[in-house]
Symmetry: C2
Subunit: 292 residues, 2 copies
């Protein structure tokens, strides 16, 4: 995707953020790619440990197949970055981060079913029901959804139980809506990271912008990219009855809307320490500019 | 089902319980039918309030259709009775009780799908996907599963958050297994009801027996009852590859096994106040003798 004509190119936004930030250290020195790779690996390791090949084997195989099929781990990284933003350590957020990916994967498995969106490919690989069966795909999705809550409740450490309950309430209300789960990723990260009420509400505002941004960009990618580039079937939204931003407002206005959301989101980060805010600044930029 | 040839007829067990109980008040005066009707109504009212007809309407309609389609509310009543057994008030257990029914309904909706057990009838009514669509049935099941956790986390009152987290961990590990969800109903009731460790472990032992008893009786009913009597398609287990107790051990041994489980379960109740134990004594008897 060519975002060159949009106003949220990285250098401009880096300046914006520096202008509104109290801390004048240059954010552009932050090694974002390294951060993503490092956090992604830690999330993958934790996910690998979270789902063992146990009875019933076929369902756990199916769970692992989709859960460990790659993917950017955007939601877990959002959660960890938000936890770190408010001053928490990564370990506080990891069970919640893994749960977010489990819930996301569950919804993808079910969404791909023949009676739903009927996708044959996901992340460049055959979808779950294509490899296993529809029956197994339904059960694997359900099991991942349950496991997500079990994982949070059983494995979260060094956080007061009232924050755990609050995070579960926050998370569970958003399931079924892609955009809202992205929002919950961040808000839950701020809750388990020990953020105060004002912190959490600022993160919530940032999250709303990012959640919407993610969806708008997703819609744009569906009409501008090939299946090969996306690693999943492209153009599906166009032929279906699904309401998308490009369909509703045209591709140019959709891109402009994405730009505005990006600017609003970054504005909320100005209230936090700039170094701690760097990952979320770059994440917003990354989501806006992702190509698949 | 004629249980007249089994050793757990009500008068015998009432005597057994009185013998091992510290409290000599006659349990047979307990109005079990009234208790079931009263608790069932309260659960139904709470479930009705828990799921409103909101956006997206069709999915919430489908959720309400299956959730409010009747049913004995065995799991919620087990949960409430267990809460009361350890000295807790019904209100402490109600959000958990509703969540149990939501999870149970979600699994029924998914189990009935064409790619799963392919049932046309459930509780004497057309199954969810027959009334709505397969797509809606998948989503309604997922939404009920999520709502269950949201409901516990958001609506549980007057219980320490560590007990709420513990109950969520307990519950979420058992989803996907009918027998284990019955077990979790009771254990979670004891947790939210304020039971100590010994209380909770006694309830767990009772729960294991009852969970297994429920399944054994279910299997027996499938081969001895008609679709009309059951309110769902009978004989399905027989023609499918599903392993059932009557298939594995024969119908007579399956009935004897049910009897033994009943006796073990009731034995655990002897450690509690007999009046508080009465509903669970009668519930065990009811599950053993249910006819659909």
């Amino acid at each position: 995707m060519n975002f060159a004509n949009l106003s949220f190119k990285q250098p401009l936004l880096a300046e914006d953020l520096l202008t509104i930030s109290q801390d004048k250290r240059p954010l552009v020195t932050f090694q974002f790619e390294e951060y993503l790779v490092m956090k992604g690996k830690q999330v993958n390791n934790s996910l690998d440990e979270a789902v063992h090949l146990q009875h019933p084997i076929k369902i756990h195989e199916a769970m692992r197949y989709s859960l460990l099929a790659g993917g950017k781990r955007v939601r877990p990284i959002l959660c960890i970055a938000s936890c770190e933003l408010v001053g928490g350590d990564e370990s506080l957020a990891m069970p919640m981060a893994c749960a977010l990916e489990m819930i996301h994967t569950a919804s993808l498995i079910h969404d791909d079913l023949p009676c739903m969106d009927n996708h044959d490919l996901r992340r460049g690989k055959p979808t779950n029901h294509k490899v296993f069966s529809e029956e197994t795909a339904v059960l694997a999705g359900d099991a991942l959804l349950s496991l997500a809550f079990e994982h949070i409740a059983s494995n979260t450490r060094n956080i007061s139980p009232d924050r755990v309950v609050r995070a579960i309430a926050e998370l569970s209300t958003t399931i079924g809506s892609q955009g809202l789960v992205a929002e919950a990723s961040l808000v839950c990260g701020a809750i388990v990271g020990g953020g105060n009420t004002a912190d959490i509400e600022r993160v919530r505002k940032y999250a709303r912008c990012i959640g919407l941004l993610f969806q708008v960009v997703d819609d744009i990618l569906d009409v501008t990219k090939s299946s090969e580039e996306l690693g999943k079937t492209a153009g599906k939204d166009l032929v279906s009855n699904k309401a998308t931003y490009p369909k509703q407002m045209g591709i140019d206005k959709a891109k402009k809307f994405a730009s505005e959301l990006m600017i609003q989101a970054v504005g909320e980060l100005a209230y936090f320490d700039a170094a701690r805010g760097a990952p979320l600044y770059h994440l917003a930029n990354y989501i806006a500019n992702r190509e698949n």
